[in-house]
């Protein structure tokens, strides 16, 4: 009697063929190719993830839900007390300017620092007339710090609209109610005078010797300056190099007491031919003296 089980175990002739089929052999070689291996290891998972993400996001409600979650997380971070701004501190500005700043930057504190556009706030503040430069930053402790450098008024400009304060660049600083509020500041007038404020300041510097007689400068025809003195005297300055012409007049005046005399206008518009116009009374006096002297001279 033959033992079937034993025969099965010892069966040597019926061992399975170890040779791989042609397909399996090719497949294994294919899987050993470096490009395919890389593709399977990285490319395929990447593709799967992309496809899954695209499939998930294809639905409108899911997309909204995802965006909602993202926004709520973002909001929860922004709402944290570390990022909250509670106070606005303004340095370097007077009371009225501070009030103006608080008016143009309407923030209802507390506000998240993520919502503050500091550059825009700075532009807004620098857009104010009395402000020369402004620095805006958020200080630790939730303080919006605004450092302001105000414009210093250097001139008063009288125009049809009234009196205005200008700084040394001619920029508008503030309206001025009465001249007597700033008696020390020089006065300019005329259309377009503000655009030449620096020239006016140079002329005022040159006109120092005139002292209290100087009333102001008038821009004539938007091209040249007249120096107005008391007693209705005027010095008409040329377009080019006005301060030199003014200096000439002052020198002559100091030597010959030109401006002390009864002169209405000193016309320096043409440098080669300075002209002096006398007042009506002086002319009549002069005529009388000539007649008395016998019609000579």
């Amino acid at each position: 009697m033959r033992s079937l089980i034993r025969r099965k175990i010892r069966g040597q002739g019926t061992a399975a063929d170890p040779a791989p089929s042609r397909l399996r052999y090719r497949f294994q070689r294919w899987m050993l190719t470096p490009g395919i291996r890389f593709g399977l290891r990285f490319g395929l998972p990447l593709c799967l993830v992309c496809v899954a993400a695209a499939g998930y996001m294809a639905d409108e409600t899911r997309r909204d839900a995802v965006w909602g979650t993202v926004h709520s997380i973002r909001a929860s971070i922004e709402e944290r007390p570390e990022f909250r701004v509670n106070v606005m501190a303004i340095d370097g500005a007077g009371i009225s300017v501070s009030a103006d700043i608080r008016e143009v930057v309407p923030l209802d504190f507390p506000v998240s620092s993520f919502d503050l556009d500091l550059a825009q706030i700075r532009d807004l503040i620098e857009g104010l007339d009395p402000v020369k430069t402004a620095g805006v930053r958020i200080r630790p402790g939730g303080i919006l710090q605004i450092d302001v450098v105000e414009r210093q008024p250097a001139l008063i400009w009288r125009s049809r609209d009234g009196l205005a304060l200008l700084d040394d660049t001619g920029a508008h600083v503030a309206e001025l109610g009465r001249r007597s509020l700033h008696p020390d500041l020089p006065l300019i007038a005329g259309k377009g005078a503000a655009d030449h404020a620096s020239e006016a300041l140079r002329l005022f510097a040159a006109a120092k010797p005139l002292g209290a007689r100087l009333r102001g400068l008038v821009r004539v025809g938007e091209r040249r300056w007249d120096v107005v003195l008391d007693r209705g005297q005027r010095i008409m300055l040329p377009e080019a190099n006005p301060s030199r012409a003014l200096e000439r007049v002052i020198v002559v005046s100091e030597v010959k007491d030109l401006l002390e005399r009864d002169v209405a206008v000193v016309d320096m518009r043409i440098a080669e031919r300075p002209t002096v116009r006398m007042t009506q009374a002086a002319v009549e006096d002069w005529w009388r003296i000539r007649e008395m002297n016998g019609g000579g001279l």
């Binding site: 033959r2 010892r10 170890p18 040779a19 791989p20 294994q28 070689r29």
Partner: protein, 444 residues
């Protein structure tokens, strides 16, 4: 001849590509097993400037990263007899080796032992055109060798210049750049049956592999099993495989003779199988574990259970004494060795200065073979194992892997062959007019 020249050059080109890619497979298609090694070339460890071999015998440039062996099927006497079966066996070996290496191999260098190798010694002599030996002159003298009529259906597998002589100085291995009048060369040419080679090529092609070189396993195992001084002084390597026993004689580091006896270990096994009436598998096991060629008194009492699978209790419980087994094995081993002796005598091995004989191959592990061989072949017989190469697994260091290891050495540092040199211009038939012109110029 031009055809073969072109195909061998194409194979060389393929091998160069494989080395550039850095991975090549070695395939030893034997009658009893098919071994596949996957080599990785690192590019380091090239030969030094003067061409001498370094401390690692010049094989530090590559590393075995995959090795597999499988039972051969469809191969008899080292020749493919059933192509489908062989293809499946090759696939098995290559797949396992690739799996171990973890890389894909596209190029394969193969060797086989059968196909009736036949050696020819060629020589030629030319007058040098301008006193100095250049590469062209070497190509010219190689091309001038008179090729014997080796018959239709045969193909040249190796054609190596063995020795160069310049005027009266002989024994030059590399005459390039030297001065002289006449250059002569001795060349060794090995031809095999072309159908066998073509079958093997076809088999490898069907496995989606490119053949990057082909070698005779006699050459490969001699390259691996003979140590350097044996190769230099002259020695014979006898690779006793399963289906055939190949003989190669080396001298001055070149193979000068190769032959094969179409008998091997499988015949011993079949003798045992027939003599004892047991299956081949049993016979193989008995041969491996208990085989020998020298009977002693103790062997009469050493009973071997030979087994059986018939179901007849009496039949399956038979025993033989080891002396009987030796009595079966010894005549066949003697026959093989006698045949080898005949081949060696025919080759003139007696006249070599050194008579060293190295036995390798799977069947050389039969106990007591060395003393039997020394009785038949000569006094200087030793058992050889292949050279050690980097990364070779312990299981693949036995003498049965001599030709696989030799083939990997051959892949790393191929010896010059005839087709490594450019064919001189005047060998091309298209330039016959120029030849005629030269003849006129020389003679008038």
């Amino acid at each position: 001849m031009t055809d073969l020249y072109q195909s061998q050059r194409a194979m060389r080109q393929m091998r160069r590509q494989a080395l550039q890619r850095g991975v090549v497979a070695i395939l030893d298609v034997g009658s009893s097993k098919i071994a596949c090694l996957v080599l990785r070339f690192d590019g380091v460890g090239d030969l030094s400037e003067d061409g001498s071999i370094g401390s690692l015998a010049g094989q530090s440039g590559f590393r075995v990263i995959g090795a597999a062996t499988t039972r051969s099927r469809g191969v008899q006497f080292g020749e493919i007899s059933a192509m489908q079966e062989t293809e499946r066996a090759i696939r098995t070996a290559v797949q396992a080796a690739q799996k171990m290496a973890g890389v894909r191999v596209d190029h394969v260098i193969a060797c086989f032992s059968g196909a009736n190798p036949r050696s020819y010694g060629l020589d030629a002599k030319v007058d040098l055109q301008d006193q100095e030996v250049s590469e062209n002159e070497i190509a010219r003298v190689l091309a001038a060798c008179e090729v014997p009529d080796y018959g239709a259906g045969r193909e040249v597998i190796h054609a190596q210049p063995v020795n160069f002589a310049l005027d009266n100085r002989s024994g030059l291995s590399d005459p390039r750049g030297q001065m002289g009048q006449t250059l002569s060369v001795d060349m060794h040419m090995l031809t095999v049956d072309s159908s066998t080679v073509q079958n093997l090529m076809r088999c490898i092609q069907r496995c989606d592999l490119e053949l990057a070189g082909i070698a005779s396993s006699a050459y490969a195992s001699g390259y691996a099993a003979l140590v350097e001084d044996e190769q230099e002084l002259g020695a014979a390597c006898i690779d006793m495989g399963g289906g055939s026993t190949s003989i190669s004689i080396f001298m001055k580091k070149h193979m000068i003779y190769a032959d094969a006896v179409r008998m091997g270990g499988d015949h011993i096994t079949s003798d045992i199988s027939m003599g004892l009436g047991v299956p081949m598998a049993n016979a193989e096991r008995i041969k491996t574990f208990c085989g020998g060629v020298h009977a002693t008194g103790a062997d009469d009492r050493d009973m071997i259970d030979i087994g059986g699978d018939t179901g007849d209790w009496e039949h399956d419980r038979r025993t033989v004494s080891r002396a009987e087994l030796i009595g079966i094995m010894r005549p066949r081993v003697e026959e093989i060795l006698e045949e080898v002796r005949v081949r060696l005598d025919a080759a003139g091995f007696d006249y070599l200065p050194s008579q060293q004989i190295v036995l390798t191959g799977g069947s050389s592990q039969i106990m007591g073979l060395d003393s039997l061989a020394s009785r038949i072949l000569g006094q200087q017989v030793r058992l050889g194992r292949p050279l050690r190469v980097h990364g070779l697994p312990q299981s693949a260091t036995g003498p049965g892997f001599a030709s696989a290891v030799g083939l990997s050495l051959f892949a790393a540092h191929p010896q010059d062959e005839w087709w490594d040199f450019e064919m001189p211009v005047d060998r091309y038939p298209a330039h016959s007019f120029r030849r005629a012109f030269r003849w006129f110029k020389d003679n008038w």
